[in-house]
Amino acid sequence: MENASGHFRQKVRWHPLEIAFWLCTLLPFVVTPAYLSLASQIAITALFALSLDLILGYAGIVSLGHAAFFGVGAYSAGLLAKHYWGEPLAGLILAAAAAGIVGYAMSHIVVRFRHLALIMLTLGLGLLLHEAANSASDLTGGADGLQGVKVGTLFGFRFDMFGRTAYAYSLAVLFVCFLACRRIIHSPFGLALRGIRENAVRMPAIGAPSLAHLRKAYTIAAVMAGIAGALLTHTTSTVSLETLSFGRSADVLVILILGGAGRLYGGIIGAIIYMVARDQFSGINPQYWYFWIGLLLVLVVMFLPNGILGGISALDKKSQ
């Protein structure tokens, strides 16, 4: 009979496919060096989707305004680089802190609601932040974006147009955050989150303080999203209102659902598939690529319920 710690130890052990996957993420350096810029943007989106998974897939909070934290992180990093210090790692820390503070503040409102009200509240808060950033154009540059962002070198490496530094940086940060997520998911806290997702009413009865847990999860997710935003600023030397937009919130939600929520790798798989598909479709057919992406989404839902990873695990179960 397995005891609790045995259960955790088993989950925490690395599956060979996982190790293979992470080794494969190094391939673009060698096999497709012309696509490193795209690869770094995929890594950034994957981190963003992973942060959403933490609250959506594991804690059951559906958010249509997650880009708020992405944008806060992006602008924090951008403003730091523009006015004071171009060191990327300092920007990461500032972005994480700023996004965390905003996330913690918002979490007090957000965790008290469910269902449609929750979705619309996150949407509304995100839209308000976007409007505020547009109005504060003296600080943010408004619709033209933040100009004059001068990102320094990372350990002596420049962020050039070949994208090597960008991808190495994004990938490394993604991996570190992924490890942190993995730890959280498999900890008692993570288990409690899943319990709350399944049945929010019962959890306090077994001693798990629902709201406090949810706030903690929401804050951690905000921190990670902020880090992803900062990565975008550092790798592209641009920040625009788009990082706070509803479009970005909706995109990351679609990506997560596509990959499969609540499965740790769903956001990463979803990001890879969606962004590669979009890049390829848009290269072939710049005006109508929407059509093919839409078709892809419809087909995935019809044939792979619960996202790509969900569908694969269902097929896997069937074949056993």
């Binding site: 449609l116 619309m120 659902i257 929520a261 992406i293 839409g294 989404l297 839902v301 319920p305």
Partner: protein
């Protein structure tokens, strides 16, 4: 001073009627079957483009094209419901979101393909647009038409819901689907008809909206946020809720822009956030 208040209320109410027509279908279908149909505004666009085609390519008059806009959108929604949506009634909300977003993308591309990305216009006849002067206040004729039309549709819907057997079936299904099935009500059929009705109304809204906000392929995405706001604030499955929410939002948007223009778009979002925090299930929603 009073005249500007009157015009703000009037214009806001008219805008609210437009929002109501666009949103009521989604509110009822979401409340009835819990099916998240984010492609609802694509039906509106279908109605809009139908009107544009009939008026500009076939020379139909504006008013005659409106019923066709309703029928076209209703047909499209039934086809989608029978072929795709039906399979996902028991799926998770997230899967329903993904499917319907996919359909929106496909529809945007389809509209762009058939109609190009150009702005479309479909002008109602002169007499409908003529301003009506009361004292020194100018009331736009078309907005008056929107108000009258919106109220008429609301009355019809309420009659349908309260006085007909079909309406009783719908109300039962919204209140408690399992119970309704248990009582022998053909919930699937009721839902299909409701879905068609809701889609048709959206199509009508889309056609009427052209004169006020224009039409291009991205309409389906652009108005989705407003429609969701009306549905959430009004409460799922409630016609009265959608009506109240649409009017409140329409008027506060208009009043906000007139009295506090520096707030701009803030106001409608602030109002939504405040209302939802006060009443999370919506103004007329069930707890």
């Amino acid at each position: 001073m009073l005249s500007s208040l009157a015009t703000v209320l009037f214009d806001g109410f008219a805008y609210g009627m437009l929002l109501f027509l666009l949103s009521v279908g989604l509110s009822v279908t979401l409340g009835m079957m819990n099916f998240v149909n984010l492609a609802h505004c694509s039906f509106a666009a279908v109605g809009g483009y139908c009107t544009v085609t009939l008026m500009n390519s076939f020379g139909w008059p504006f008013l005659a094209s409106l019923p066709m806009a309703f029928i076209a959108a209703a047909l499209v929604s039934v086809v989608l419901e029978r072929t795709l949506y039906r399979h996902l009634y028991r799926s998770s909300d997230l899967d329903q979101c993904l499917l319907t977003i996919g359909i929106v993308f496909v529809s945007v591309a389809a509209f762009a393909w058939f109609y190009t990305t150009e702005q479309q216009s479909a002008r109602p006849p002169e007499w409908l647009r003529a301003p009506i002067t009361v004292g020194d206040i100018n009331f736009a004729g078309y907005r008056l038409f929107l108000i009258v039309f919106g109220l008429a549709v609301t009355a019809l819907l309420v009659l349908l819901l309260e006085r007909t057997r079909f309406g009783a079936q719908v109300r039962a299904a919204v209140d408690n689907q399992r119970m309704a099935r248990g009582l022998g009500i053909d919930v699937d059929r009721a839902f299909m008809i409701t879905f068609a009705l809701g889609g048709g109304l959206a199509g009508l809204g889309g056609a009427l909206a052209i004169e006020v906000v224009g039409l291009d392929p991205t309409f389906a995405l652009a108005f989705l946020v407003y429609v969701l706001i009306v549905v959430a604030v009004g409460g799922l499955g409630s016609i009265g809720g959608s009506f109240a929410a649409a009017v409140v939002l329409g008027i506060s948007d208009m009043a906000g822009k007139y009295y506090f223009p520096w707030l701009g778009a803030f106001l409608i979002y602030l109002v939504m956030v405040a209302l939802l925090m006060w009443r999370p299930a919506g103004l007329f929603g069930k707890r």
